[in-house]
């Protein structure tokens, strides 16, 4: 999977979790940019990504996923 393809999938997940069909994310998007991105929704994002791309993050990794770019980096590393 290319980074661009993965980005599309992650964008869809963000749109579902935050229930905003028009949400546009960037690599730099982080919890300051999205009001609802709290610790509970962070877990929802993580679980949705895990189930979509069939990977499992380990404990330390979950807290390093500060922004979209970091998410993409780590997923691509683990794929």
């Amino acid at each position: 999977m290319t980074r661009a393809e993965l980005f599309e999938k992650v964008q869809e997940i963000f749109r579902d979790i935050f229930d905003d069909e028009n949400l546009i994310i960037k690599e730099s998007t982080n919890s300051n940019d999205i009001d609802d991105w709290d610790s509970l929704n962070h877990i929802n994002l993580v679980v949705a990504i895990e189930s979509e791309v069939k990977i499992k993050f380990n404990l330390e990794e979950v807290s390093t996923l500060k922004d979209v770019g970091a998410m993409l980096d780590l997923i691509l590393l683990k794929k």
């Binding site: 579902d16 979790i17 935050f18 509970l40 877990i43 929802n44 993580v46 679980v47 949705a48 404990l59």
Partner: protein, 593 residues
Amino acid sequence: MKIKEILKYPFDSSIIIRKRKAIRRELIKKNITRKLKIAILGGSTTSELINVIELFLLNQGYLVTFYESDYNKFFEDAVFDNTKLLAFSPDVIYIHTTHHNITEYPSLVASNEEVETIFQSELSKFEYIWTSLEKYKCPIIQNNFDLPLNRSLGNLDCYNVHGKSYFLNRLNLNFSKRAQSNKSLYINDINYLSASIGLNNWHDKNLWFTAKHAVSFDAIPALGNNIVSIILAILGGSKKCLVLDLDNTLWGGVIGDDGLSGIKLGKESSLGEAYLQFQSYIKELKQRGIILAVCSKNNHEIAKEGFMHSDSILVFEDFTSFKANWDPKNLNIEKIANEINIGLNSLVFIDDSAMEREIVALQLPSVSVPNVGNNILDFIDFIERNNYFETVNISGDDLKRNAFYAENIERKKQKAVFENYQDFLFSLNMKAEIKPFSNIYIDRITQLVNKTNQFNVTTRRYKLNEIETIASKDNFISFYGKLSDKFGDNGLISVLIGEVLNRSCIIDTWLMSCRVLKRDMEFAMFHMLIKECKAKNLRNIIGIYKRTNKNDMVSSLFSDLGFKFIREEVDGSVVWEFEIIDYLQKKTTIKIN
């Protein structure tokens, strides 16, 4: 994506949780008037569970407001003065505790007395909670305990007095005993639920350590559904009646074609045994008060005969309503509900045919129609894991039942989705292949000729070589028919043989499998026959109906097609004639070839 389907077993947790907000948006568009207040006292993170409980209850027509205890404050919220909870005035209190909430397990060196003290102290903690909550005068739903994923004592863990499994199993038994005597205490059996899901899937260590979710996201929908079904059972909203198809649902095969001795039921075959198990399960439901009904496309007498089978566990008298005829099933199900005098929303319909399920689901949206598929092995799971017939009391729920009947006086007639049956047939996108016999189908044609009893005008039987001869001769017209629709391929289901004699075509054999009845396939076959007769410059078609005790359904086939009555023979056969020049093509719902 149909919301109704998403919130049914088998649950796809990734869709439910990820699309939760969109699903919720759809559900609250409906006009929901019933309100419910639920207090959730949690021993772990409950945010996602609450979200899912809300979805299931919205889907059942309840607007819910929640009281959620602070993280792991279930004990404090329950036993100390709690003005917030008092003001909230809950209709139901749910205590979401798991094995993570055990205060203390006995150490390996604890004496028997110490083990007992620790056990009693844990039990009394919960008893204290339940007594303290009595002042809210509402039902209390209490989880029993799931087992931890790991057990350092190995198998000994379940029978050594110091074992954690032993400790938890004892607590569970004591919870059950308390619930037997405390009429407002209901057990949410997560011990069973976690086992049925599998402890490996029930637990998610990552989620526990990162967010203190005691149950994996995969398991949350099943857990939420379980809690909601207890709530509905308390409110008297469980289903009351199970409506069952017959052929390939209560036995294997088609009784009208295979006969009483041909259907699969009993210990002689693995398939027969599976149907027996299904019947046995249904009998158990009946014994605990679930009303049974039959809705089958069949001849009434023949259908009834199925329950004379020596291995049948169900008997004809088990069914409060028995509809075996050829009317659309949605009409029959409405009649069943009227006869029993219950609302359509109390019915669950089980049928192996995807098409019948779709008709009923579309025409009668308040009837529960699980997509059971066509594998008998799955049927019980679909009934059970949707928790349709959840019950909290086996004998005396008369009070609730009264409330239930009162509610149903307001029942409104369902608005049909399709203007008429013709529109429904169009929606199926049916395609037929109707062609002269060819070698690859000779086996199937022979099989159909020898087993079809109901839609069969002459019931003539031919051996394989005789069919081959017919196929090769110029003075015979032969057609096989295959039918597919948007649900899939029905395979080769119709056979027509005509013999040509002096510009006449005499219908020697015309049969069709019952699985495609009322689909206009006979009109498609007839259309092709006419076409062929025209090509051969024939004048008329002679149809002969030979009555047997099983083929009443085609007694009016020829008159329905516009044939003229000629005469009745001494043996009871009726001869009909059709002038080819009179043929007017019917508006067809099937695309041919």
